[in-house]
Amino acid sequence: MTAQVKYDDVEVGTEIPAQTYQIDRMNLVMYAGASGDFNPIHWRENFARKVGLPDVIAHGMYTMAQGGRFVTDWVGDPGAVLDYGVRFSAPVVVPDEGGAALEISGKVEQKLDDNRVVVALTARSSEQKVLTRAKAVVRLA
């Protein structure tokens, strides 16, 4: 595995520049198909409202996948991700018109042995934290 970021080049507190990901209903339909999660709260608005949601919401796993992409884009090799976990603290609401913006940023929280670091992620949409306790352990070069 060849991560492109060197362990010696990062410190606790090193920040990974924020990225914004635009989410459209189409993305959720594609994700439903690819993942096999066809829960209608992710694509049928009247169903989502009927079960008490404000609108269609993104699959938590779609949001988590964007966090994963944020980390793997930074580290280069997705195989360097050894552990990745999140808590879904608020849904990402995806209106038909305009979709949603998901902003993700990250910080090296801890340096471990064996070139491993803990990256803590922050993810927000519509001013709400949508992921908490979002952490990835990655092995750097």
Partner: protein, 145 residues
């Protein structure tokens, strides 16, 4: 509705073998909007030290979602009220095309949080040869009516 506490600690038999393919990995990478060539191009993957393309870190959900653990009517889960609470993957190594894997799931926790019910499922994703590839920790929340 309260979930059946008798299911705490219940282990479920391994799922049907699932064969990971390049096409499925690419479809998943496309769906999450990730253009990383290591998911698509075997040469790029080899240059990064992998024997073939690899799957994204959250890909194992594709395999573990099909787990029968939550489908048992005796559990009393109302799927329409379910939201994902937490998810974690511990990767032993990345998943690759040709991996034939099964999931063995155990319900490790069920508890009430306010009006909601929280349930944790741990899943070992192993190749049919017995190699552990990934451990998944899936927390779901059934929202109270």
């Amino acid at each position: 509705m309260a979930l059946n506490r008798d299911f705490i600690g219940r282990a479920f038999p391994p799922s049907e073998p699932y064969e990971v393919s390049r096409v499925k990995i690419r479809e998943f990478a496309d769906a999450i909007g990730d253009r990383n060539p290591i998911y698509r191009d075997p040469e790029a993957a080899k240059a990064a030290g992998h024997p073939d393309v690899i799957a994204p870190p959250t890909f194992p959900i594709v395999v573990s979602l099909g787990s029968s653990a939550l489908a048992d009517p005796g559990l009393g889960l109302n799927y329409a009220m379910v939201v994902h609470g937490e998810q974690r993957f511990e990767h032993v190594r990345p998943m690759r095309p040709g991996d034939v894997v099964t999931c063995t799931s155990t319900i490790t926790e069920i508890k009430s949080i306010g009006n909601n019910e929280k349930l944790v499922v741990e899943t070992d994703i192993k190749t049919v040869d017995g190699e552990l590839v990934c451990k998944s920790y899936n927390t779901i929340v059934e929202r109270g009516a």
